[in-house]
Symmetry: C3
Subunit: 273 residues, 3 copies
């Protein structure tokens, strides 16, 4: 698809399908993001299930439509559940998405992310620094925690290589978002800078990607691009009303809930790179 | 009480007493709901205590006025603390309330809920699917996680039977809420549909029930009905100002904080079934 | 400094430096506060890192500029990580701040707080009851959980003694906030009463203190006073727009993000006691 018009129509088609099918998205995520992530999924039309106990994953994960794994506040006792959930999703043919939060901040975190990456998520979504850390397989001595020190567009080649090596679609968030399967690459020019002043927006968009891939599992790049773009569009509309990060957060969720065809057609900016 | 007028006066009397006495409500709850639950309790006039360590429950729980146990993000290591807290509450004659989140989603979850149910909470509050799962004692193969597949009013007979069998008051949330002690049943027609697009509103109303029962422990059905109705009224007022789920959440809490006699008298809709 | 004018200029200088340097603040905190705390840090200009795994603390904590430890939803398995983080911060010469939430609510909690206090945080920030419990080293039989039964100004002498005994700066929150190093004491008359109706505002201001001390580690009393005052000022501005606790929470964060020199000069109220 080369025509921006087609991407917009596709984004709207994705959102419409999501609202109709209301996919059940299991989230094994960090403590900071749980509230926002569940509310973002609900406002988009999905049904969140924050289930992380290894005692119920083998029985529960087969019932979900997608899985989101996020290592934000990882401790070693959470890893086995993440792995069993990923395995179950793979066995059942359900898409799952990995958010390698602050992958370069410590060896423990990097190893956990690389191990999960080896289990072949459908999509990995991170900021520039996180994707670079995974690509290089090394800890960043200048890590700023969850914040990126790299622009997404500087990381495109690393993202492509990582996609080829891992067999996963790689999404890099930033001023411009980039999605690649290792061959083609797509850029998304939606969103506002103030999103970086709200905790867990990155985590939440990863969960949203899981929901979009759930309803279009054969077009992972496209579904991922739609999710990133529509979240960005919602933030743009929210920004018109916001007076700061907290009101932006509220208006973003409201806007995501209320997105209509006209807005999506006017605002979505997805193009081939 | 058959007169709607009396229910309204009673709801206002409950709220007034709650604001005066500011009961201390201990919450052992899931990670997703902690923030909203604490803020809902505070805005209603109660004092939340999110204390779940088994190392302090025997010393702390005797000081609280009510206890709320919620299995939302349950893992096996949390169960012993829940049981000790329930035991302590029972021994001290303090009311406690159980929220069997997604009880039918897995055997692990169902067993935990049935075990807690066997410890005789004062009230169980769930949606239709959760109450049915407890009543049948079986996992729901079509579980949608925390979302209900059943209307509350279709579950009235199951709720009555469960109340009789368990000796607990059973509250079923839905478009119409139902509260029953197994003999009488009461319906509450407050609330707005958009509450389902906000995570942890069900969890929060369960904690609110605990606070209301704390200040009227001899009238559990009535206190439960007041809590459900007033939370619903706050959501109705909030809905008049809301532009989506996130602003509804904000306005709901603000409205609960500001509820006055006139509004309560005008809006509360509790009737005998 | 005796001149209120100088305190105001200093508060503005602190905020300006914080926004420029964007210090990385590691938070090991309770589940209820994580979201608000991270958002408060972000809106002030700091970079939050909610990292609590003992497996990465030895590698990660040396990279941060300050550490915040909060015992709000403490369980025994969290204590070792807190201690290793405090030790690491001490060894690396990084400031760290302790929030002894509900210190007097149980022996388990009190012992944990006293143990952490023995590791010499730069600042301890609590309400009147929490500071008294630490000073007396005894559990409060009438504990209201996280809520204070004592006014901050009634606790000034205990705070001074605690500061002398512990070698830490002690900050007591209340209608008037007090900061003391055992010799001098400073009072801050900013803030609004409704903050007590929002969960985790105390926790969040403690994290903000960590961020301010990070950028002025040689003037701990002054940096602490600036943090308390500016958070209070943001709440005052927020209160002008708020209709209840939830909108106050939103407007407070927005206001903290937008604080300008004129507002700071007009509103900051710090004086020597």
């Amino acid at each position: 698809m080369d025509n921006p018009e087609e991407w917009r129509q596709q984004a709207w088609a994705h959102l419409t399908k999501l609202r109709q099918e209301c996919p059940l998205v299991q989230c094994i995520t960090n403590f900071v993001s749980m509230d926002l992530m569940a509310n973002v999924l609900l406002s988009a039309g999905a049904s969140p299930a924050m289930v992380h106990s290894i005692d119920e994953i083998p029985e529960f994960t087969p019932k979900v439509h997608a899985l989101c794994i996020n290592v934000g506040t990882l401790t070693p006792d959470w890893l086995p559940a993440m792995k069993v959930a990923a395995e179950t999703a793979n066995k059942e043919g359900k898409p799952w998405v990995l958010d390698p939060v602050a992958a370069g901040a410590s060896s423990f975190r990097l190893m956990a992310c690389l191990e999960l990456l080896g289990m072949k998520p459908s999509v990995i979504r991170g900021n520039g620094s996180e994707i670079l850390a995974l690509f290089k397989g090394s800890v960043d001595p200048n890590s700023k925690g969850v914040d990126s020190r790299h622009e997404s567009t500087d990381v495109v080649e690393a993202a492509k290589s990582l996609a080829q090596l891992s067999g996963c679609v790689v999404a890099v968030s930033g001023a411009v978002d980039v999605v690649t399967d290792g061959q083609q690459a797509v850029s998304i020019r939606n969103g506002v800078a103030m999103l970086q002043k709200i905790t867990a927006t990155g985590c939440s968009v990863t969960a949203l990607i899981a929901a979009f891939v759930a309803i279009d599992p054969l077009h992972v790049v496209e579904a991922t691009a739609s999710a990133l773009s529509l979240f960005g569009v919602a933030s743009e509309i929210g920004m018109d009303m916001a007076k700061g990060p907290a009101s932006l957060r509220m208006h973003l969720i409201d806007s995501l809930y209320g997105l209509d065809q006209g807005t999506v057609f006017n605002r979505v900016k997805i193009t081939k790179l």
